[in-house]
C-alpha cells in the first residue's frame, strides 16, 4: 500500500508544504548564485547596495522558509507513518496557512528593496537587515510580522503532532512511543523552548518599535534574545536530518538501525543542551561577563556528544547493511553500499560533509580560538556544510524517496537524480574549503566587495584570487545541483501515475529495539524540566543584568538601512 493511498489527506498536506519549500529553494538558489558571483567580482547584475537585499532573501528563504516547510512535511509523514494515523486536519492546515501568510509578508518586505522600496503604510518597503535582523537597523514592519507568523505557525504544526501522540496513547496504553514520533516530539519540544527568545524579541520589542509605538530598544538585549533562538534553530534543521539518517538511511543501505535506545539518548541530549549555548555566538560581544561565556562554552562542547554518538550509530548501521549485501573487510564494505541510488548517496554524502562541518564548528565553539575566525568568511564556510549540506542535501535526497510515496508517481529522470548529490558535494567542497581558508586570512563575511581601499588581504595557504575562483565555481555548481533537483521534482510531480513504485515506507526492526531502552527516556516532562533548569542557569543571571537598568536601556532608536 502506497502512503498516498493510505493517507490521502495527510499526503495532500505534505505536498502543499513541499511545494512552498521547493519554491523557496528555487528563489534562494538564484539569490545564492547572484551573491557568489557578485562578491567574488566574477559577474554582476545588481549594485553592491542591493547585494544585501539579495543576501537577506537568500538567508530567510533558505534558512527559515525552505527548512521550516520541508520539516513540517517530513514530520507529518514521520508521525503519520509511525503512529499509523491521519494528522488532525484543522490544526495542520491552519498551521500551513499561517506560515504561508507569514512567508508572503516577509518575502514582499524583502523583495520591495529591489523595486525602489516604495512607501507602504508610512514605512519604506524593504528589509535588507539580513537573517539576523540586528536592531537598531530597521526593516518594514511586515518583515517582523511575517517572521512572527512563521514561528507561530510552526508552533501550531507541532500541536498537530502532539495531538496525534495523545490520541495514539489513549488507544495503546503502555506501549513504547515509536522512534520516528519520539524524534519528532523531542525536536518540537526543543523548538518550543528555543523560539520563546525570538518570539519575545520580535513581538515585545521589534514590532512595536518598527511601528513607532516605542522609541527605543536595547541592541544587546534583542541580540541576546535572538541568539537564545539562533543556535537551537541549527538543531531544528539538524534533528530532522538525523531522523532521516537514523530511521530511513539504514533501510536504504540494505540493513537495520543499530541501536534504537542510543538514538533516543541522542535526541534527549539535544533537548537538554541545545538552548543554553547561545552565548557562544556572542563570545566577542561587549557587555557580557566572561563567566557566562564560559558556561555557554562548556555546554556547547558537550553538545558534541550526541553528534559523535550519531556518527557511531549511523556508520554502524550502514556497515551492517553493506555486510548484508556481501561486504567484507575493514573498509572494503563501503563498496557494497548503493552509491548509485540518489536517496542513499545524497544522505551519505551529506553525513560525510557534516563531519567536516562539525570539526570547523569546534573551532567556532572554542571560546578564545574564536577570535581568529569570528565573523570571517570561515563562518559561512562552516554553516554551508551544516545547514547547507547536512540538512539541505539530506532534504533533497530524501525527497527522491518520499515524493514518489506522497504522489504515487515514479521518480522521473533517475540519471539526473543519481548525479545530483555528487554535483552538490563537489560544489560545496570547492566553495566551503575556500571560504574556510579565506576566513583564516581575515576576509569578513557579509560584504559585497572583495577588496578595501586602505589595505589588501593576503592568503595564508593559497592566494586570495584562487579562493575567489573556487567560491565562484563552487557556487555555480551548487546552483546547478539545486536546479537539477528541481527539474527532477517538477517532472515527477507532473508525471502520470502507473506501475509499481520502487520505494515504500515499511521499515525493518532495529538490531537493538525499543524494548532495550529504559522507560525513563520517554518521560518528556522530566527532560523538559531539566532543559528549563539548564536554561535558567545559563540565561537567568545575564538576562537579569541586562534588564536591571530598564528593559529598553541603553536604548537605540530605529535606523533605516
Amino acid at each position: 500500500m502506497v502512503f498516498v493511498d493510505e493517507y490521502p489527506k495527510t499526503s495532500k498536506l505534505i505536498r502543499s508544504q513541499f511545494i512552498v519549500s521547493f519554491i523557496a529553494l528555487a528563489l534562494g538558489a538564484v539569490f545564492g548564485i547572484v551573491q557568489a558571483l557578485h562578491r567574488t567580482g566574477t559577474f554582476r547584475i545588481f549594485s553592491s547596495a542591493d547585494y544585501y537585499t539579495i543576501l537577506t532573501g537568500h538567508g530567510v528563504l533558505l534558512a527559515l522558509v525552505f527548512t521550516t516547510f520541508f520539516i513540517a512535511g517530513l514530520f507529518g509523514w514521520a508521525v503519520s507513518n509511525s503512529l499509523e494515523r491521519v494528522l488532525p486536519q484543522r490544526a495542520a492546515w491552519g498551521a500551513f496557512w499561517l506560515m504561508l501568510v507569514g512567508t508572503v509578508l516577509a518575502a514582499v518586505a524583502i523583495l520591495g528593496g529591489l523595486f525602489g522600496a516604495p512607501s507602504i503604510l508610512g514605512h519604506s518597503l524593504k528589509a535588507d537587515v539580513l537573517f539576523t535582523f540586528y536592531a537598531p537597523m530597521k526593516a518594514h514592519p511586515a518583515f517582523y510580522l511575517g517572521a512572527a507568523l512563521i514561528i507561530v505557525g510552526s508552533w501550531i504544526a507541532g500541536y498537530a503532532y502532539f495531538k496525534s501522540l495523545w490520541n495514539w496513547r489513549s488507544e495503546n496504553a503502555g506501549e513504547r512511543i515509536p522512534l520516528k514520533t519520539f524524534m519528532v516530539i523531542t525536536t518540537m519540544l526543543m523548538w518550543y523552548i528555543s523560539t520563546i527568545g525570538v518570539a519575545v524579541e520580535v513581538v515585545v520589542f521589534l514590532i512595536p518599535w518598527s511601528l513607532g509605538l516605542i522609541s527605543n530598544v536595547d541592541p544587546l538585549l534583542t541580540r541576546t534574545l535572538f541568539w537564545y533562538f539562533g543556535h537551537p534553530v541549527v538543531y531544528f534543521w539538524l534533528m530532522p536530518a538525523y531522523l532521516v539518517w537514523y530511521t530511513i538511511l539504514p533501510k536504504l543501505a540494505g540493513g537495520r538501525l543499530f541501536s534504537d535506545p542510543l538514538a533516543r539518548v541522542v535526541f534527549v541530549l539535544f533537548l537538554l543542551l541545545s538552548t543554553p549555548v547561545g552565548f557562544h555566538h556572542q563570545y566577542v560581544d561587549p557587555g557580557i561577563p566572561e563567566g557566562f561565556k564560559f558556561i555557554a562554552m562548556t555546554n556547547t562542547m558537550f553538545l558534541l556528544l550526541p553528534s559523535l554518538l550519531t556518527a557511531f550509530t549511523v556508520v554502524a548501521s550502514l556497515e551492517h547493511g553493506a555486510r548484508q549485501n556481501g561486504g567484507k573487510g575493514y573498509f572494503s564494505w563501503l563498496r557494497n553500499l548503493p552509491w548509485g541510488e540518489p536517496a542513499f548517496a545524497g544522505c551519505a554524502l551529506a553525513g560525510l560533509m557534516f563531519a567536516a562541518g562539525g570539526f570547523s564548528g569546534m573551532i567556532n565553539a572554542g571560546m578564545n580560538i574564536n577570535y581568529l575566525i569570528h565573523n570571517t568568511l570561515w563562518v559561512p564556510g562552516h554553516f554551508h556544510l551544516t545547514v547547507g549540506t547536512a540538512f539541505a542535501l539530506t532534504a533533497m535526497a530524501i525527497s527522491y524517496w518520499l515524493v514518489p510515496q506522497i504522489t504515487g508517481k515514479k521518480l522521473q529522470r533517475r540519471g539526473l537524480a543519481a548525479i545530483q548529490p555528487y554535483i552538490w558535494f563537489i560544489g560545496m567542497a570547492l566553495m566551503s574549503n575556500a571560504m574556510h581558508r579565506a576566513g583564516l586570512a581575515g576576509i569578513p563575511r557579509r560584504t559585497a566587495e572583495p577588496t578595501y581601499s586602505e589595505f589588501s588581504f593576503e592568503g595564508v595557504a593559497g592566494t586570495v584570487g584562487e579562493m575567489r575562483l573556487q567560491i565562484a565555481i563552487g557556487g555555480t555548481l551548487l546552483f546547478v545541483g539545486a536546479a537539477l533537483f528541481l527539474v527532477v521534482m517538477a517532472e515527477t510531480w507532473i508525471a502520470h501515475r502507473g506501475g509499481r513504485l520502487r520505494v515504500n515506507s515499511v521499515f525493518p526492526d532495529p538490531l537493538s529495539g525499543p524494548e532495550h531502552s529504559p522507560r525513563i527516556l520517554d518521560n518528556y516532562k522530566l527532560w523538559t524540566a531539566i532543559a528549563l533548569v539548564l536554561i535558567v542557569i545559563a540565561y537567568g543571571p545575564p538576562l537579569a543584568a541586562m534588564l536591571a537598568d530598564g528593559i529598553t536601556a541603553p536604548g537605540s532608536p530605529p535606523i533605516p538601512v
Binding site: 571560546m367 578564545n368 537493538s512
Partner: protein, 175 residues
C-alpha cells in the same frame, strides 16, 4: 539498556575529547591569558556618542598615552567609517607596548577586527568594547567592519600603523 562494547569505547573517547577541548580553552584563558571581551568597558549612550556630548574621550576619539608603556585608543564606529582609522587617518600605535582599544558605536551594530591579529570584537550601540593587545611586529594592518551595518558596509575599512617604539611620537590630542 544494552550498550555494545564498541559503543562504550566510542562514548568514553568522545567524552575524553570534549573534556580535553574544555581543558585547552581553560588553559588559554588562565595560562596564556587570552581573556574574552567582557563588560569591563561599561555602557554609554549611542545618541550622545553621535552628538559628541558624552563628556568622555569619545567626543574627541584618538590615541591617548595612558602611561610610559600603555596607550589607549578611543574609536567611534559609525556608518560607514572608523574615527580614527578610516581613510587618511590611520590609527598609529607603538610596537611592544600595551595597546587598549576602546570602541563604541554611534548608530548600529558594527564589527572591529584587525587582520593578522586576534583583535576582533563586536561594536554594539550602548556598550563600550575593550580589547588589550601588544603588537610585536611593526607594519600596516588592515581594519575591517565585519558586521553588516547598512548599504555601504563594504566601504567601511581602515588601517592600523604600528611603528617602532623608539620612533613613536604621541600625537597632540586636541580639545
Amino acid at each position: 539498556m544494552q550498550v555494545h562494547n564498541f559503543e562504550k569505547v566510542w562514548l568514553g573517547a568522545a567524552i575524553l575529547l570534549i573534556v580535553g577541548f574544555i581543558a585547552t580553552i581553560s588553559y588559554g584563558t588562565v595560562g596564556a591569558g587570552i581573556s574574552m571581551v567582557d563588560d569591563s568597558g561599561g555602557q554609554i549612550s549611542a545618541q550622545a556618542v553621535q552628538n559628541g556630548n558624552t563628556g568622555t574621550q569619545f567626543d574627541d576619539p584618538g590615541v591617548v598615552q595612558a602611561s610610559e608603556d600603555q596607550v589607549v585608543v578611543y574609536v567611534v564606529a559609525q556608518q560607514f567609517q572608523f574615527r580614527p582609522g578610516s581613510g587618511d587617518t590611520p590609527i598609529r600605535v607603538p610596537a611592544d607596548t600595551r595597546v587598549t582599544f576602546k570602541v563604541t558605536s554611534a548608530d548600529v551594530v558594527h564589527g572591529f577586527s584587525i587582520t593578522e591579529t586576534n583583535i576582533n570584537t563586536m561594536v554594539i550601540p550602548g556598550q563600550v568594547a575593550e580589547v588589550t593587545a601588544v603588537f610585536d611586529e611593526t607594519g600596516t594592518y588592515g581594519l575591517v567592519c565585519h558586521e553588516y551595518c547598512g548599504a555601504a558596509h563594504h566601504t567601511m575599512g581602515g588601517s592600523v600603523e604600528v611603528v617602532p617604539k623608539d620612533q613613536y611620537e604621541p600625537q597632540e590630542v586636541s580639545n
